[in-house]
Point group: C2
Chain length 112, copies 2
Amino acid sequence: MKSNAMSAEALGLVARRFAVLSDPLRLRLVHSLFEGERNVTQLVELTKGTQANVSRHLQTLAASGVLGRRKEGLMVYYYLQDPTIFQLCDLVCGSLGKQLAAQAEAFAGTSR
Amino acid sequence: MKSNAMSAEALGLVARRFAVLSDPLRLRLVHSLFEGERNVTQLVELTKGTQANVSRHLQTLAASGVLGRRKEGLMVYYYLQDPTIFQLCDLVCGSLGKQLAAQAEAFAGTSR
DNA sequence: AGACTGAATGCTTGTACAAGCATATAGTGG
DNA sequence: CCACTATATGCTTGTACAAGCATTCAGTCT
């Protein structure tokens, strides 16, 4: 595998993965699953979304491999399936935190 | 800061960061800068995009703090400014690789 | 069987945004 | 000042997709 010439196909997959994580409600859902699996109703309450909307976003997340599904009677439990999600979120949050802190400092510096 | 109740604002920022990385051309641009800064014309050639389109995507990437800009005469050089981008890409690529390998194996298993 | 609950799916509407094309700005040299 | 090169910016069009609402599907209980 050449490291400097990613195929268009691979690029599309990576882009798609990022796109899946680029929605606030989906991020809330992922975040709500950090501490363990939850069924749809619980997720609706936790995220304060509508049932239909939450259900659809869960499909998206599951289809992309981020979440897994487990059916138990009437209820469907979703759980984090991709373990890299934690690190991904940590990285982005850390990076944004640093960036905002730097901006704040630069702003404070303007009055010197 | 409570770790289990991210503000809507913070969530929006994270989502936005992922959204910036969710475009194939932008990923190509980022990838083209892995080995050092490049000016717009070079990036147009490397990514085979149009000048206008490349320029606009570079704006997006720079505005979000992923890239930095350096002007030198007529030319503008862009460079990776957020060091976490490497790790972010590695994580996603690794995760996708595992996922695809697992799928391939599962598929092969169907004929057993 | 019917009534009920949890989850998924049509269908529509509004909005964000990528790409294309033409044009404008900025900087350089004659 | 004019011509030229590098980059950025209007403006338009097409497409993807989130949200809302109603409806359907699936499973449980009597």
